[in-house]
């Protein structure tokens, strides 16, 4: 069941890529869909990680919300770094903190760590089980709970619904 779902998702991604690259023309579309079926069949067993993605309407709504939140955070992070670089005193209090994530699925954790790396002043250095070690450019709190609330929970709220 999981690999069937992975097959469907990887097929959809591949066919979307094909349409974007070649345009919507009949004969090329046939070739593309055959190639996508073959590639998805070969790689579906090793792509079973994709099956963590839920396809309910609620999950899709949260996916859209998540993308919006992510774009805003990306802009904020770039401006934040630019501000720190430009100010003459270089205002940083760096260090590595430990946070805990509630997400169970592997794909969810991958997306979470990537989003943390792209948000203001934080970068994932190491992930061990449910603990993430994060390099924080401006440490505001000492214990795990507060750090978790500040760094992780913005994304976790949406990712919990999308990946479970």
């Amino acid at each position: 069941m999981r690999s069937v779902k992975a097959f469907i998702i990887s097929y959809l991604i591949l066919i979307l890529l094909w349409v974007v690259l070649t345009g919507w023309r009949g004969d090329e579309l046939i070739v593309g869909s055959i190639a996508a079926v073959i590639i998805s069949l070969v790689f579906a067993p090793s792509l079973s990680i994709l099956a963590d993605l839920k396809l309910t309407p609620l999950a899709i709504m949260h996916l859209a919300l998540y993308l919006l939140v992510f774009c805003i955070e990306l802009f904020k992070s770039a401006i934040d770094v630019a501000r720190r670089v430009l100010s003459p005193s270089l205002p940083i209090n760096p260090g590595i903190v430990k946070v805990r994530t509630k997400l169970k699925s592997k794909l969810g954790r991958i997306v979470l760590t990537n989003s943390i790396t792209l948000t203001p002043g934080t970068m994932t250095v190491e992930a061990k089980g449910e603990y993430l070690y994060i390099h924080w450019i401006d440490i505001k709190s000492d214990d795990i709970e507060t750090a978790t609330n500040t760094i992780v929970s913005t994304f976790e709220r949406h990712l919990e619904v999308i990946f479970g």
């Binding site: 260090g95 792209l118 250095v125």
Partner: protein, 112 residues
């Protein structure tokens, strides 16, 4: 008109790229440099590519694909570099407040 908007977005993007390069010069240690080098350059290259796409509309879908690839691969590469640097034993700068990862690792070693 679209050409003008595209050019402005492009200039914004190159401004962010410039600031990222300045961050790499000014920051004190590897990890902080990585922070500047990841964030400012991700947004910078995204804006530059989107600006080109806005100016020349038939390239837009392919450039959006490029933006997606940058968005997926950039954080992974910087994470891999930071992790490798930490395990190779590169110290954090003296201004650093704490290092939980190094503490946990030395605990594991003393237990084993």
């Amino acid at each position: 008109m679209m050409l003008l908007i595209g050019s402005i977005v492009c200039i914004l993007g190159s401004l962010f790229l410039f600031l990222g390069a300045m961050g790499v010069l000014r920051m004190p240690d590897v990890y902080n440099r990585m922070q500047a080098g990841t964030k400012a350059t991700t947004l910078g290259s995204m804006l530059t590519l989107l600006g080109i796409g806005l100016a020349i509309n038939e390239w837009l879908p392919k450039l959006i694909l490029l933006v997606l690839f940058i968005l997926f691969t950039n954080p992974i590469s910087s994470h891999a570099l930071a992790r490798a640097a930490h395990f190779a034993g590169i110290k954090l700068t003296d201004k650093s407040l704490r290092d939980n990862l190094a503490e946990d690792e030395s605990k594991e070693k003393s237990n084993a």
